[in-house]
Amino acid sequence: MPIHSLLDATVVNTANNYFPIGVQLLFAAGFVATMLIMSALLGPKRKTSDKLANFESGIEITGNARQPMAIKYFLVAILFVLFDVEVIFFYPYAVNFRELGWAGFGAVAMFVGFFIVGFTYIIKKGALIWED
């Protein structure tokens, strides 16, 4: 196969191409459900209230796990959403960048510049400092 046809990223995909993925999803989910049900049926059922209590660390439980968590984790999640969207923007560019040439490269370099400004801002703000 000549290289230019391999580099042609505009191969048309129809719903037919995705059909096997749907079949695989059904297959995988079916397998998982069967195994879960099977083990639920096959295992012994001698439940006592002590067994059904949360194990946690083996000693008696104090308090409940449904309580506020450290804000840091939420911050990381929000920052991820923010930056991942920017990362996804790079993909269409990466597929087409040979045709776009230096002009496209300049535009993306600018975009990366904005990315880095935002990135530096959050780091300077201390969003990723984990030691208090």
């Binding site: 995909n13 796990a65 991820f80 990362v87 040439g101």
Partner: protein
Amino acid sequence: MIVLAFDFALFLEKLILIAVVIFGSLGVALYTTFAERKVAAILQDRRGPNRAGPFGLLQPFADGLKLVFKEEIIPNTSNKTLFIMGPGLAMTAALMTSAVLPWGNKVELFDRTIALQIADVNIGMLYVFAVVSMGVYGIMIGGWASNNKFSLMAALRGASQAISYELAMGLSLIALVMVTGSLSLKTIVEQQMLPGHLWNIAYQPLGFLLFLVCAFAECNRTPFDLPEAENELNFGYHQEYSSMKLGFYLFAEYVNMFISSAIMATIYFGGYDIPFLDESKISPNIAAILGIGALMTKIIIFIFVFMWVRWTIPRFRYDQLMNLGWKKMVPLALANMLLTGAIILWLQGK
């Protein structure tokens, strides 16, 4: 509607291929657990499991059966639906990634040409990303539904670790897409097979290194196994689980390891390409068998690297992990991307 008019033979062919791939990856994962214990034993000068069957080869089946026949406990204070959904989701997501991987070129059977790939979609790489991100839900839901403080903490750690490294992973792959110009995994392999074209590792050494580190983090493998840091969090996010649900969590990790090894072999090491051999000169069926063998060899080498690292390098501290992910990997991947782009355009002379 034309979309629904499909070839029944094609459907059957895909169904068989799906069954082979899914049970194949489960089988490999099963024996990876065994290999891990053996490798650990060799590295620590022990014998490892050697009682069940010759050389302990039946050990993984013994372990699996034990998990199936154990009593299933769902803690009273947990959220029952989510508690069951967690491991199911983790396992389903782990089994879905293999859909877009090319396992070989094609075989000719019963006058039909069968492509050894479940679905050749032109967004293959994005599909892999989408499914890999689904794995986070398994950890997060399981940890939260347990209503256990340790599980919750482990789940939060695991989720924020996975999403942090996904960022660097996405960036490291952009440079690769610039080299290949395509997101289809089949096309990426075919390009690497072309005469005069080296494997992508030769063009993207830094990209590969970044991807490898991210793969370790995404699979929650040492040195990034913070969600399972047993000396601080007991058993991690699957603390409250028992029976097959626990089995699914542990098993999903090994399936993920197999799949990420397969992805690395495919995109950086030529997939089913056999070095120094022109596959077009031999008959397609023999080429397919040899190709699958070559791919499996590459995968096994990667799985060994995963184990080797696990038994060599100690675990990171959490802040070190986040610093590495955000402050080192992301800028490095960005620099790699810009450098790759500039070099390709310069060579192209446009």
